[in-house]
């Protein structure tokens, strides 16, 4: 039925489907071009346009029939496999890492912005956004003054004062003791005064902590525009009971719900302030005078400190730095090409080299042990169960394959629980007290053990298949010749098996060499090694690389991670290339 349908599709409907598909692709590309131009995503645009044209050309002409069947896969391969590899190589030559993640213009913007500081004696202002008679935005500004005797709260744990020993209260025990505290919470949640919405809409804020409302002490109030500050007569200013200015005669308050529309007007405001800086809004109710501390000279590509006169120049590796003190750099930096530094650091910088070597060795040990043990166990079981007249073979096989059928990530997470030193079932059932995931040695045993569990069914399956493909006549013949059964094994079966399975063993080695889940989901690469902040005792190269790039709290070094990933590629590639050259993969191709 389906085949008939497909056969019928060979005519016009197939053509229509094809045209619809191409139409969608072309449409998508055409539609995306303006966005990509405005984003300046030139590489992406080139790739997309070339891919689309290739698709059109190959699917609409009949000159390249085989290409019709390869083109879509090839496009995916190019975009998500080849381009990432090349991109990865280019990242390996950069300093892309914590502190150097953005572009240079972004970094300059951030440095300029963050360098505008309040000067020593600068003032914060209470701010009231209003409009004057002509509808222009005017900020009603009142300097914030703090009463000298602002109390320091004794419950502030960071307050330096050491208060008297309060004596210890006992909590808990009978429910009554903890009830009151809980009840008070219920009250606080439902008390209307604690609900934020009421205050939000009233347009005031709750910052009026310490000002005194006596008129004589009140600071002057100004009307601020880009022309400067204009002091308002005290009689024109209306205040609430805390002394906060709530309105000014001649100006209409901007209603609270319109504040969110003021973004661009706020941005344009730059009120010259008394300290020689610029007063800018810092929210909706406060403003501050900011004085720049650094100036950027675009022509020389340098920053100059207005305080110290130090000139920070581009140090060529992604930062503006003080030439007299290389560690005095301005942050943030930006991404910059730094040549082979990442590649050579792996060998020259002992901070990177020492853990790298340890991880490198363990990676090989882990991969080899994994392949060897799974193969030995899998093959042994295959031999044991490969007996024609044996009951229950089918059920044994089904159960033995179970670890292979369960998604590996689940099994690994489960094992991490079972091996948990103190809660884990293994220690508590056996009564052992083995620090499975805790001690470097046992953690290594654990990752190999779990990998054995995960991997032996595969080896069992392929060994069984291979055993059964050995012609029984061959074995019979050998036996008739008088060879004893072990001899039969060694001379006849084993070579045949190895020929059949060698490519699989090598593939398995390559897989385990990069068996990220098997390590990361079980131990996270831990436990920690003494000589590294990042690498742990069970880390293999791939998990180590991942942690360098993405590990929380250790900073991210994408450049270094990319460089190491290229080393991994070279190692795995070499091993695989040798094996492929030897295997018959290509000879089997009947070209």
């Amino acid at each position: 039925m389906i085949q008939r349908l497909i056969a019928q599709l060979g005519g016009t409907p197939a053509l229509l489907l094809k045209l619809l598909f191409l139409g969608l692709v072309n449409g998508m590309t055409v539609w995306a071009i303006p966005t990509m131009i405005s984003n300046q995503s030139w590489v992406m645009m080139a790739v997309l346009v070339v891919a689309t044209l290739a698709l059109d050309f190959i699917l609409l002409t009949s000159r390249y029939i085989p290409a019709k069947y390869v083109i879509i896969g090839a496009i995916f391969l190019t975009i998500f496999q080849l381009i990432p590899i090349f991109y990865n190589v280019s990242i390996a030559f950069t300093n892309y890492s914590t502190g150097n993640i953005g572009t240079k213009p972004d970094a300059i913007t951030a440095i300029v912005r963050d360098s505008a500081a309040e000067s020593e004696d600068s003032t914060s202002y209470d701010m009231l956004p209003t409009r004057n008679a002509t509808g222009d935005l005017v900020l009603i500004l009142t300097p914030q003054v703090i009463a000298a005797d602002t109390p320091v709260d004794a419950t502030d744990p960071m307050a330096p004062s050491a208060s008297a020993d309060p004596g210890l209260e006992e909590f808990g025990g009978e429910p009554a003791a903890s009830e009151p505290a809980l009840e008070e919470f219920g009250g606080a949640e439902t008390t209307p005064s604690a609900a934020p919405s009421g205050d939000l809409t009233s347009g005031t804020n709750d910052l009026n902590v310490a000002t005194d409302a006596e008129a004589s002490d009140l600071p002057p109030t100004y009307a601020g525009t880009n022309d400067g500050l204009d002091e308002l007569p005290a009689s024109d200013v209306q205040r609430d009971e805390f002394g906060t200015v709530v309105s000014a005669t001649g100006f209409v308050n901007v209603p609270p719900d319109e504040l969110s529309t003021l973004e661009s007007e706020f941005n344009d405001l730059a009120i010259p302030g008394p300290q020689g800086g610029v007063i800018k809004p810092q929210g909706y109710a406060t403003a501050a005078e900011l004085v720049p501390t650094l100036t950027y000279d675009a022509a020389a590509d340098t920053f100059t400190s207005l305080d110290t006169g130090v000139v920070y120049s581009n140090n060529g590796s992604g930062n503006f730095a003080n030439p007299d003190n290389v560690e005095d750099v301005l942050v943030p930096g930006w991404r910059e090409y730094i040549g082979f530094t990442n590649f050579t650091n792996v060998f020259t910088d002992s901070q990177i080299r020492d853990p790298f070597i340890a991880v490198f060795i363990w990676t090989f040990v882990y991969a080899i042990l994994s392949v060897f043990l799974t193969f030995v166990l899998g093959l042994s079981l295959a031999i044991v169960l490969n007996k024609p007249r044996m009951r229950g073979q089918r059920i044994y096989r089904a159960l033995l394959v179970l670890p292979y059928a369960v998604p590996a990530f689940l099994s690994i997470l489960v094992w991490a629980g079972l091996l948990n030193d103190d809660f884990g079932a293994i220690n508590s059932v056996t009564g052992w007290n083995v620090p499975w995931l805790f001690d470097p040695f046992w953690a290594r045993v654990s990752v190999v053990l779990v990998n054995l569990w995960l991997g032996f069914p595969y080896m069992f399956l392929v060994s069984t298949g291979a055993l059964q493909s050995i012609p029984s006549e061959l074995q019979e013949a050998a036996r008739v010749d008088g060879a004893r059964s072990f001899q039969v094994w060694r001379r006849v079966n084993m070579p045949l098996l190895l020929v059949a399975l060698a490519p699989l063993l090598i593939a398995s080695f390559a897989f385990n060499f990069n068996n990220f889940n098997g390590i990361y989901l079980l131990t996270g690469g831990g436990p920690a090694m003494d000589n590294s902040e990042v690498a742990g005792a069970t880390d293999i190269l791939i998990s180590y690389t991942y942690k360098i790039a993405f590990s929380a709290g250790q900073g991210n070094d994408y450049g270094l991670a990319s460089a190491i990933s290229i080393y991994i590629f070279i190692i795995v590639g070499t091993i695989s290339a040798i094996s492929f050259a030897r295997s018959r993969a290509l000879r089997e191709d009947r070209a």
Binding site: Q3, A398, P407
Partner: protein
């Protein structure tokens, strides 16, 4: 139907046995059973442990019984009713993603295999070698680059870039052609060319031969490739954890890993329930397709 290149586990019929003494039995088959029992225990115990924990209220990881004494569904309720850990979303995301990616993987792989098996063209050998070579670079080694590419894609096509399951699926398809094309081609090569030739004589186009003749004949290997793809997608952790961000868009691997994280004793019960639910369809699929799998495995693919 089964090609000679795909050995399938054949279970020999068990002939009636003559009565034998215990020692005889032990010598011939008994020790085999003993070893098989030990191996089965090794293979199955962790699985049973999880099943048991899933049905035990507040189990500790060490709760010592393989059979829950008082089975309940509490853990499933806790698992499914936690809005911060939208397990149902993870489940649906993962299964849909796995099936769709597998479908496209099979089509892409089969297309490439058809071209390389049935046509002779310039660059064919080079192309085949190239596929093998590229496959050696595991996609997730270029994770940083993939991430940055997807970030750019997001800026143009929001919805298929970062934090998007479609985007994640597209990335997975980047690895669809390589080894799968080889695997399928191996099978296609065993389908006699004469079938194509006679269809061509009857006026069939290359498309009709591909869709109507070759694909149906290759169903076993396509099933294996599809299954391996499903397993790969379900297990894939690294790329998914880097690209996906919103809690409701995670896959099971990422979501459950975060869920269990450092809180083994706290979340063990619901985790066990979640693991059980997640494993069931995969195990069923595996059992269903098992007769194809051995053949597929010996062709050189490794569980990802």
């Amino acid at each position: 139907m089964t090609s000679p290149a795909v050995p399938v586990v054949r279970v020999a019929p068990i002939p009636k046995q003559k009565r034998q003494t215990f020692v005889q039995w032990l010598k011939s088959n008994g020790w085999r059973h003993a070893i098989a029992w030990v191996a089965v225990a090794f293979a199955v115990t962790p699985v049973l442990w999880v099943v048991s924990a899933a049905f035990t209220t507040n189990p500790t990881i060490s709760s010592g019984s393989l059979i829950p004494t008082d089975p309940t569904l509490d853990n499933f309720k806790r698992l499914l009713n936690n809005p911060d850990q939208p397990y149902v979303n993870w489940y649906v995301n993962t299964m849909l993603l796995a099936i769709i990616v597998a479908l496209f993987t099979v089509l892409i792989g089969a297309g490439a295999a058809y071209a390389f098996s049935r046509f002779r063209f310039k660059g064919r050998k080079v192309g085949l070698m190239f596929l093998l070579l590229v496959q050696m670079f595991p996609q997730f080694l270029a994770l940083v680059a993939i991430y940055l590419i997807m970030a750019q894609v997001s800026d143009v096509f929001s919805g298929i870039g970062l934090d998007s399951l479609i985007g994640l699926g597209l990335v997975y398809l980047g690895g669809a052609m390589g080894i799968n094309a080889w695997l399928i081609k191996g099978f296609f090569d065993t389908i006699p060319m004469e079938i194509d030739e006679s269809a061509k004589v009857d006026g069939a186009s290359h498309g009709q031969i591909f869709w109507g003749i070759i694909l149906p004949l290759a169903a076993p290997v396509l099933a294996v490739v599809g299954l391996l793809s499903v397993i790969f997608t379900i297990n894939e952790f690294v790329i998914a954890s880097a690209l996906l961000q919103s809690p409701q868009k995670l896959t099971l691997a990422v979501g459950l890993q975060q869920f269990i994280g450092e809180k083994y004793s706290e979340n063990w019960g619901p985790f066990a329930a979640g693991a059980l639910l997640a494993a069931i369809p995969v195990v069923l699929l595996f059992i269903f397709l098992q007769r194809f799998i051995v053949g597929g495995l010996t062709q050189g693919s490794v569980k990802g």
